[in-house]
Point group: C2
Chain length 429, copies 2
Amino acid sequence: MDERTTVTDDADAVLEAARRAREAAVALAPLTRAQKDAALLAAADALEGAVDRVLAANAQDVERALAAGTSAALVDRLRLDAGRVAAMAQGLRDVAGLPDPVGEVVRGSRLPNGLELRQVRVPLGVVGIVYEARPNVTADAAGLCLKSGNAVLLRGSSSARSSNAAVVEVLRGALAGTAVPPDAVQLVPGDSRESVKHLMRARGLVDVLVPRGGASLIRSVVEESTVPVIETGTGTCHVYVDAAADLDQALAILLDAKASRPSVCNAAETLLVHREAAPAFLARALPALRDAGVTVHADAAVTAEAERAGVDVVPATDEDWAEEYLSLDIAAAVVEDLEAALAHIRRWGSGHTEAVVSADQRVCRRFVEGVDAAAVAVNASTRFTDGGEFGFGAEIGISTQKLHARGPMGLPELTSTTWVYTGDGHVRG
Amino acid sequence: MDERTTVTDDADAVLEAARRAREAAVALAPLTRAQKDAALLAAADALEGAVDRVLAANAQDVERALAAGTSAALVDRLRLDAGRVAAMAQGLRDVAGLPDPVGEVVRGSRLPNGLELRQVRVPLGVVGIVYEARPNVTADAAGLCLKSGNAVLLRGSSSARSSNAAVVEVLRGALAGTAVPPDAVQLVPGDSRESVKHLMRARGLVDVLVPRGGASLIRSVVEESTVPVIETGTGTCHVYVDAAADLDQALAILLDAKASRPSVCNAAETLLVHREAAPAFLARALPALRDAGVTVHADAAVTAEAERAGVDVVPATDEDWAEEYLSLDIAAAVVEDLEAALAHIRRWGSGHTEAVVSADQRVCRRFVEGVDAAAVAVNASTRFTDGGEFGFGAEIGISTQKLHARGPMGLPELTSTTWVYTGDGHVRG
């Protein structure tokens, strides 16, 4: 750790950045949609104009990662090219095209005493985002926060520090010519784990923290933060294949949910099959999973079906039921009935997305009321739990908590509300 | 501390209660409105039928409080009579009359691919309420939680332990004959501060904690809880009297906001007067406050006006600007202009309710956009920030935080949502 890092890692630097963000948030809150959109478009143009600078910075990060022996998958997530930078700029333009959530009247009425009451969306204030490798999150999160009237404190991973610094410099340069104060977009000073801790303790200066990334990052933020947190992402998603399932649909849904993009949080991690459907379904599903390159972590009943089908599986332990593999692995069990499936999901699920495949309407209805998750997929793949798929235009993450926001979070989820009541000298007496 | 208390204060007993609450919540979530309302009405009848038993238990609490030299005001808050018990029963009937928030479709659409998407309100699960003296909160909170499909863990103050235990026993007895499991309403075992700590650490079993009471209780829960918290109550509310205020209205609003019920969180604690309005307004307001028994903690400019008016005031320090007196005291300052008032409120306000009195539309508009609070009163008293006044029928508290719920919390604020999407074998591919 060199001297510069030691200095910028101290609590004062983080708190000073948070204070500047707070001031910027005060100036940002009353801006009109036109002012905010103009700033977003200026930022998009600036990013496209600075593509060489951003790629040069990114090359430093990639070089450092390669020298450190980082895995190819991680290096790929880190690496930018002209197309990815153009996509970041287009993302900012897309956000400019979305409606402004601020000022939306959520509810309203005239009270019996004549007071005019309305509940109006307002910005949260200062939003902290703690995230891992992908540098495109830097521009995406900044765009969503600005549009919703929030200042943002960005805390990316140290592996992407040159890229993130270049992107933020470009964005701040563009904002300097607009109504949005540049301090509305800042990197959290410092590279060490300590700087995250200072951010988590900046209660009163930071209104909400959104951790995006691996389970251990999220857990540590949730446990240590005194700033309110919106928990994102862990997805131990289940696909339950009912006795009354259409097996063609069940197979297509299972393969899509598991294998179309295994590294994301809305991918399936556990298959549960009703015992009556098990022989017929598993005789088709186990070879299909094998052909898709998926390793099945099987309970005894699934193992027996696998032997009949001539497919190799590995035995499942309790750890498998809790596991978010994020890889071409799936845990699989045969369950006695729907209630046993619900009990399994209640015990092991992470509350992200649970899917039921059944042609029986009563089964679907009971599954929906019996699971407690951000999303329930009925005869559909878990992979649809996504802000883009839901028509939000963009998302800041997928909340797996119950307070404030649950599921994909778009612009309205980055706001709070204020009750405004207007009278003519009204007193309660 | 007797042996029984020592045993029930341990973490295991609290966690065991939370686990039973969790099971009860699973059974409670799918109940229909008719089933929940029947349980609420049975509980109301039982409470009225057990008035003697509840009053006998309450007499023990009152006796203990008197023996301990508790203040008359606190003993009054603790004391029940037949009328207060009847009001608790009526409160349960009123909640039965409110619409069921569970199942409400908040948003919904048919996606381009034909998936039917809807966002549906669901119960939070297990709600913990930590509260101080008033035993009526026990029945009120239980009623609101049951109606919204939540199990509740009640942690009242030890001063009300006999009353709370009697009320909860009566409610649980009534539930035993209904579709609602009795374990949906439980007292947190144990009397000591430790039992609150165990509750705050029961993440995964308890979905949200709502502290209701004094500032120090709320602060300790907010700082120590790993269970998500909804912060309630602290109200350092301001009344800003603008240069363009109608002074008759300003005076009526000030007196109502400060003196109609000084012990509540929506009472005003600070008066800010535009310097152009100060001489004329304070010449009337200072004697009127004195006549209402209010002590004014004044800055230099207000003190000068007080001397001219022949009214005694006490000098204000910085502590006064931050103070939630909850008594017949008010801090008062003259400000240079609207922006100075907004800066003062941003620095010292608690984000509860801020009032502006002005006939100038531009001033009102700027005040609304410039303050960051749960409620803004325009030409109206701060005292209207209240679930009953807003037409919610009942409230669990007033949130002063920005996430999830802000302002008076009624039944919808005791719910989360689930996204349900229904397809016919839809895959994302």
